[in-house]
Symmetry: C2
Amino acid sequence: PSSIRLAVIPGDGIGVEVTAEALKVLQAALPQDVKVEGTEYDLGARRYHATGETLPDEVLDELKGYDAILLGAIGDPSVPSGVLERGLLLKLRFAFDHHVNLRPSKLFPGVQGPLRDTAPIDFVVVREGTEGPYTGNGGTIRQGTVHEVATEVSLNTAYGVERVVRDAFARAQARPRKKLTLVHKTNVLVFAGSLWSRVFTAVAAEFPEVSTDYLHVDAATIFLATQPERFDVIVTDNLFGDIITDLAAAVTGGIGLAASGNLDVTGTFPSMFEPVHGSAPDIAGQGKADPTAAVLSAALLLDHLGRTKASPALSEAARRIEAAVEADLAERAANATPRTTSEIGDALAAKAAVS
Amino acid sequence: PSSIRLAVIPGDGIGVEVTAEALKVLQAALPQDVKVEGTEYDLGARRYHATGETLPDEVLDELKGYDAILLGAIGDPSVPSGVLERGLLLKLRFAFDHHVNLRPSKLFPGVQGPLRDTAPIDFVVVREGTEGPYTGNGGTIRQGTVHEVATEVSLNTAYGVERVVRDAFARAQARPRKKLTLVHKTNVLVFAGSLWSRVFTAVAAEFPEVSTDYLHVDAATIFLATQPERFDVIVTDNLFGDIITDLAAAVTGGIGLAASGNLDVTGTFPSMFEPVHGSAPDIAGQGKADPTAAVLSAALLLDHLGRTKASPALSEAARRIEAAVEADLAERAANATPRTTSEIGDALAAKAAVS
Ligand SMILES: CC(C)[C@H](C(=O)O)[C@@H](O)C(=O)O
Ligand SMILES: CC(C)[C@H](C(=O)O)[C@@H](O)C(=O)O
């Protein structure tokens, strides 16, 4: 396409700084004739304090018109826990049916993770994004008394499970190792677990080349800490996916490097790309944040648009950004001089630029 | 006391082998005048296949009469997932009101964990054991159709949360660092999260010497992989506790070393002690299993009975077993000759014996 229209939600804390760098690199990686029209949306803690709004309906409506959304980070200690997460971030994921939450985990050459063993790590977690215990279903009675009862309901539908499992199988099929691991807790959560297992087995029959296995979520954390190289593609529910992708990020060098895409793979709604890390209010505004996760999220964005718009130019730009990050990380290993957020962004932009 | 009455449930797979060693060491560590009356209960996959029973009511009733229960491991691939877990293991935990699931994590000298960084790790997770998504609450409609919906309900009560939070504060208070971390997912699971947070804050007021903090479960996994030494005591719900204790075990050298106690701290019902590991059918019956986790669980058992029966002899025996494990692990580091399950048990028994 000659232009891509992006809604940009820098959000809170370091979200602002890292998003600026991500846009810088994204722009540099695209050929001159592809115009990026970025429109910034002021959403997050500041707006909430100013107007009480988290995500007004008009804004949600407007956002529908974009090719994609680039998001920085949401959350601030000044806002009660859950308000922005549920009123803004999760509202976007649910309203835009982001059922495939894609989280690649790769140990880039030169990056020192926390593990002693350094076998190559390169897997991707396909986290369900619209169901599970994330639906806000639950409640409280007798709040504040000794008789209080609070519930949280995990909702799982055949429709919702099947589409994400199918997506994960297709991704596994397209990778060299062709391996897919289902992660759940079927021995305790027997109702949801049975649904996930049955759907997984049924869809597997359509992908005979993909080898499959199953791990309970607790055992999966052990393997992530001791043998992460065993994983190729993982598919799991919303909550387990939340937990294991943070661990996966830690194991591959930290959430400063972990990117994610919240995809509506049908293309009905814009997909949204965001670093896995949070707003890190303690270091916000100091130029200390590593923009790499946001930059890699921008690469995921271009990769996604490249596929859905069948545009090789966008896909190539995505590859260039990934290569730039890879090269930069290798250099960081050799050169310990700390750089500011925008210095890292500048270096990545220079490396990703069309030559 | 002059005798302790133990119900022994070896269970499945390596459960049988490791329990035998645990009993051997327990016996050796106690002075001659303390008699151990162990009664074995045949429960697990074999019994299920033979009779269809998981935990008959008469057995449950009988078990109530013991001072404590020593359990090996439950589960076999020949039994559908969930049947033994829910019909036996969780039934025991729920029937005997095991609300404090205690899981110490310690990196013993000489043990090489998967982390590059080897700061001393010594914390304990107090996992709630009778609520959360473990209650079996949930269901399925339209099973097997494309319209299937499956739910899992997490139940949380002020009564249940308060007693485990209070227990965790008391444990933190008794430790040198006096630090307690609440782990939950309050930004998404707002109903349960709010209950846990409010109870935590309220009980904290009674323990002014204990310093507290809070981590979302996803962030907690990052810290467990990168800075486990930051933790002293963690309190968390049943499911999060399941997940992070497996990770904690991995980080401290593997589930071959991780012990646990399922406590009814009121003493109404017998508490139950078991290694965190499973039945490992792949290595069962080969003398390859490491009995150390079961042996450390026996030490937790003696420690618990020492407190509840105000018996210094039992507490001292617990200390001797821990010291024996510590010494043996240090020797293993120096001597790489692999030993069988019973050779390790013999060595631990000799070291733990009253001199
Ligand atoms: C901020 C929070 C609501 C979110 C989640 O739990 O999904 C975050 O942890 C993530 O993983 O994107
Ligand atoms: C076997 C299973 C039911 C159990 C649990 O989930 O509690 C186990 O993983 C544990 O941690 O003791």
